[in-house]
């Protein structure tokens, strides 16, 4: 095998390996880190609910699938399959913002009380009777 041929084969091989590694990493990329991600919007529970109720599809485009920060008063704290669920109430609507917390927030949620004002950051998935947020964390 000549030196030139060897170099071509070697560089092709390197390219293939790089390609495989890149596609493997891309395929296995992790879920967005909520804590480190910048939130796209920061608003009150009242505002968020109002927009979903009044603007429907516009709010859907704006907030769904985004990482947002929502401020509101705790109406209820419950647990679901070992994770905390915090319901933020709205002062002028039957609807609320339901925040499904990440498991690492369990200890912090225990310190919270109904009626307390808090800020939650997480991924908004949309609106049914309430705005739904998943993978949430508490923000100081």
């Amino acid at each position: 095998m000549t030196g030139k041929k060897f170099k071509i084969i070697l560089s092709l091989l390197v390219l293939v390996i790089i390609g495989l590694v890149v596609s493997f990493l891309y395929y296995n990329k992790p879920h967005a880190n909520i804590e480190k991600s910048k939130s796209d919007y920061s608003l009150t529970a009242n505002q968020l609910i109002k927009e979903y109720k009044e603007q429907g599809i516009e709010a859907e485009k704006k907030y769904s699938e985004r990482i947002i920060q929502v401020q509101g008063q705790i109406h209820k704290i419950s647990t679901l399959k070992g994770n905390s669920v915090i319901t933020l109430q709205s002062s002028d609507s039957e609807s609320s913002v339901i925040c499904h917390m990440l498991p690492e927030e369990n200890a912090n949620v225990l310190k919270l009380k109904n009626g307390q004002e808090i800020m939650v950051k997480g991924k908004c998935t949309g609106f049914l009777l309430d705005v739904i947020m998943v993978r949430c964390i508490l923000v100081e």
């Binding site: 879920h31 339901i98 998935t125 049914l128």
Partner: protein
């Protein structure tokens, strides 16, 4: 779509008239599972809204497609953006009836649930077995059924055709509480 809203609104409005009879959950569970030679794919949704009228056995279910959580972020992205087009069809709905519901009173039993499933904007009549458990303050529905991807006009690119099953198994567990 419209019918579902009407049913849900009706259920909520009727509820004010007869205080008893409506049972609701906002954190019901629905998952789906795809098995193929290449890989198994599972996604869980723990934010399912479901309302049961215990007088008639009528049921209305809604869920957000974006609430389905996958193990791999990329799969979740492809699912929402390319396959089910969540930006166009954010919800999946089911409206139907739990058959012979009143005969199951205060019992554990198996019956049939019949109704219309809407995914990706397409309707499909569904009939499946359901396990019903009725307690004083809870109605639990559990079961599973199979759906064909093709029935909902969901297009899977040829390159991943072997990764995704043609028939998907759907599991559900809905624990309804009395609606106050």
């Amino acid at each position: 779509m419209k019918e579902i809203y009407i049913i849900i609104i009706n259920l909520l409005v009727l509820n004010c008239v007869s205080a008893q009879g409506k049972f609701l959950t906002k954190d019901g569970y629905v998952s789906f599972f795809s098995h193929s030679v290449v890989e198994d794919i599972k996604a869980d949704n723990n934010q399912v809204l479901s309302i049961v009228d215990s007088d008639t056995g009528e049921i209305a279910i809604q869920l957000l497609m974006r609430s389905f959580m996958f193990k791999k972020a990329l799969m979740q992205e492809h699912f929402n953006e390319n396959y089910v087009e969540s930006y166009k069809y954010p919800k999946a709905t089911f409206s139907g009836k739990i058959m012979k519901f009143n005969e199951l009173d205060e019992l554990k039993g198996e019956t049939e649930i019949v109704g219309t499933l809407n995914v990706h904007g397409r309707d499909k009549e569904i009939s499946t077995k359901v396990n019903v458990e009725i307690n004083e303050d809870e109605i639990i529905l559990k079961g599973d059924f199979y759906v064909e991807v093709a029935d909902f006009d969901i297009k899977i690119p040829a390159i991943v055709e072997n990764n995704i099953a043609k028939t998907i198994k759907v599991n559900f567990e809905l624990r309804h509480k009395p609606y106050k």
